[in-house]
């Protein structure tokens, strides 16, 4: 009990400083309080329920993400395997022709040697037959030599696709001068109605491997010359470039026949070619892609419209 003085007690009796209130309708009040408490309770329960649901969903989402990651990894892996398969079958296909020809030639040569040898042993070899033999041998040797050389060239090409092992001599070079030199070197491949114009600012300096640049330029230009530009119209290739704070961007354009939509996504795949019958091996743009993305750490985008032309945008991070 709090101490109360007589004055305080009397004041409160006469109504001064009284703090209590008159009675209210308690059951109604109590009912309201209960209702609010009940609401609070159900609210808490609801929140808990929702939280549980959310947690469940979160868990499910996390699981889904995990599975997606797994799937992605699997996909990447299978994509790699598929690419490897394509590569291997491509290599096999490409190698099969020269090696097959060489093998046939060699078998024929061995047969001929055996025949000549028998004739010679029986003293039956005529001069004419011997001369024919020599002539055939030379032809066969030439065919075999040509085809083995071709196989050897192919092997070298394949080696180029895997760029990692290249001994890269990085140096600073002037982009304009370098591209200009390449186009000049390729100018004897140009037909009369074809022109290449290099519109690169003369002050752009690049640090990197000139040979990588050379590979890119030649492959893309040769692509345009061999099957991009048709014979009917004047063919024109334009090479532009600009630099910003981070990147050097090279824009390559031709006004050729363009690439079909369904092929556009495949042009960087190894052995994809629409020109196999005329000597294309489908490695050119794959090589370009590998050099740009792996060796130079850049990106390459191809835009094309049928009968209007093709555009390559190569973005290379500045190292300088």
């Amino acid at each position: 009990m709090n101490y109360q003085s007589n004055d305080e007690i009397r004041d409160k009796i006469i109504g001064l400083g009284e703090s209590s209130i008159t009675k209210s309708y308690y059951p109604q009040l109590k009912k309201r309080i209960n209702e609010i408490e009940e609401l609070n309770k159900t609210l808490e329960e609801k929140v808990e329920e929702r939280t549980k649901e959310l947690n469940k969903k979160n868990l499910a989402l996390e699981k889904t993400i995990e599975e997606l990651n797994k799937t992605q990894k699997t996909l990447i892996q299978s994509e790699k395997m598929a690419a490897l398969g394509t590569l291997v079958s491509g290599i096999a296909h490409e190698m099969n022709t020269p090696l097959g020809i060489s093998l046939t030639g060699m078998t024929h040569f061995l047969d001929t040697v055996e025949t000549v040898n028998n004739l010679y042993a029986n003293d039956n070899l005529s001069q004419q037959e011997f001369e024919n033999f020599l002539k055939d041998s030379k032809e066969l040797a030439q065919t075999i030599s040509t085809n083995i050389r071709r196989a050897s060239t192919l092997i070298n090409d394949f080696k180029k696709i895997s760029v990692e092992h290249h001994s890269i001599e990085n140096r600073i070079f002037n982009l304009y001068e370098y591209i200009e030199n390449i186009t000049r070197a390729l100018s004897n491949n140009l037909k009369d109605n074809q022109t290449i114009s290099v519109e690169i600012p003369k002050n752009i300096k690049m640090y990197g491997s000139p040979s990588a640049c050379y590979q890119i330029a030649t492959n893309i230009i040769m692509n345009s010359l061999t099957h991009g530009l048709d014979d009917q119209n004047d063919g024109k290739v334009t090479i532009k470039a600009f630099e910003d704070k981070k990147n050097i961007v090279i824009i390559y354009e031709d006004n050729g026949i363009g690439i079909k939509k369904e092929n556009l996504s495949k042009i960087f795949e190894p052995f994809f070619t629409t020109n196999r019958n005329f000597g294309g091996n489908g490695l050119g743009l794959n090589l370009v892609y590998n050099i740009v993305t792996t060796q130079l750490d850049g990106t390459i985008i191809c835009e094309s419209e049928l009968n209007k032309g093709t555009k390559f945008i190569i973005t290379l991070p500045k190292i300088l």
């Binding site: 409160k12 006469i14 308690y26």
Partner: protein
């Protein structure tokens, strides 16, 4: 009018519950229970009241109206603190939302105590003093069966502290019932001794309220009317307890005195009676009757004009008499009045020893009623009065 002479201290509050007075008002209990949205009622009463039959009648009425009723009747006269707490448990265990009290001061004070404990979730002894209850109690409907206590209209709740052996006074607006159904018919069943004791309790309420230092014109009006009625009808009820008109007048007197003392508070008679009742477990009205004339004698000079009015209310001729004569006459009247009702007793008869007076006085001086005694009273004064009463 110069308002400068009227200070804050001259302000007066008057608070009273809604009450229905009259024969048969008890029959309105279920209507008020509906009005107050009650549903599960704790019916507080005591075994003595149950024997009168009123409780059964009212329970039947409530049950037939669809209320759930839990009866709590484990109450002794001068309700104990632990009995209140037991009632609190009964209230909570039965998920009650309201209280109906049927009985005298014991049942009604216990019901009030249960209510404030339930609402505030506190022990009953924590509320001792004036205006110490924060949260109003659940609805309370009171049906008094005695004419004297007037707990049914008052803001007083008196509970026995069984550890300290004294009665504590809890004075708070929150203990005022929501409705009092004051039905004089319910006092017909009172035994004669209880009739006299409660009648003298009502008289003490009226006199102490009338001379209280917190009295007001409103309380004076009620107090003096109560005194007149008691003077006139107490002896008649004593002679003729079966007379319904006399019972009605005494009930009315009790109501008037209740309205008066609830708002003007009381004085040293009650301080000392609370202390005494707590120690010896004596009927409250009896304690009051023993102390009343002694305290009047002590207080007389502090409020002689008011005591003169009281003397006149008792039919004494005051005319040109000096205060001293009136005082003597009033003292003599009080003794004769008690004697005529066969209640002129002394505490010695109930085992009070001289060596207990010290403790009694120390408790009495701290009682809330001491504050409104018309004359400043000391522990020694109280001791002397106890000594005179032994």
């Amino acid at each position: 009018m110069n308002t400068k002479n009227y200070t804050l201290s001259s302000l007066r509050k008057f608070v009273a519950p809604e009450y229905i007075y009259g024969f048969g008002s008890r029959n309105l209990v279920s209507r008020f229970a509906h009005n107050l949205s009650l549903s599960k009622i704790l019916l507080v009463t005591d075994s003595g009241v149950i024997k009168t039959g009123w409780v059964d009648e009212i329970i039947q009425q409530l049950l037939s109206e669809g209320f759930a009723v839990t009866v709590f009747d484990n109450i002794s006269p001068n309700p104990r603190d632990f009995e209140v707490m037991e009632g609190v448990r009964a209230f909570n265990n039965n998920q009650c939302d309201s209280i109906v009290a049927i009985g005298g001061g014991s049942a009604m004070d216990c019901a009030k105590g249960i209510g404030i404990c339930v609402a505030n979730d506190q022990h009953i002894l924590e509320f001792e003093g004036v205006d110490q209850v924060n949260i109003p109690a659940p609805p309370l409907i009171c049906l008094p069966t005695t004419a004297g206590t007037s707990a049914d209209v008052s803001q007083f709740c008196i509970i026995t502290d069984t550890t300290r052996h004294l009665k504590i006074a809890i004075v708070s607006k929150t203990t005022i019932p929501d409705v009092a159904l004051i039905d004089p018919e319910m006092t017909m069943t009172m035994p004669l001794n209880l009739t006299v004791e409660t009648g003298l309790d009502a008289l003490t309420h009226a006199i102490e309220a009338y001379v209280s230092n917190a009295s007001s014109p409103m309380t004076d009006l009620n107090a003096i009317e109560a005194i007149k009625l008691i003077y006139k009808y107490m002896p008649k009820v004593y002679e003729n307890p079966e007379n319904i008109e006399y019972r009605h007048q005494m009930m009315l007197a009790s109501l008037y005195s209740g309205l008066a003392f609830s708002n003007a508070s009381l004085g040293a008679v009650h301080s000392m009676a609370h202390s005494m009742g707590g120690l010896k477990d004596l009927p409250h009205g009896l304690c009051n009757s023993i102390l009343l004339d002694k305290v009047i004698d002590f207080n007389f000079n502090a409020s002689s004009h008011k005591f003169k009015n009281i003397a006149e209310a008792f039919g004494l001729k005051t005319g040109a008499l000096t205060s001293q004569y009136i005082k003597t006459d009033l003292g003599k009247f009080m003794k004769d009045f008690k004697a005529s009702l066969n209640i002129d007793k002394r505490f010695g008869e109930f085992g009070l020893k001289e060596n207990e007076i010290e403790q009694l006085s120390n408790n009495a001086i701290k009682d809330a009623c001491t504050a409104t005694n018309p004359k400043k009273i000391s522990v020694d004064d109280i001791k002397r009065i106890y000594e005179l009463s032994i």
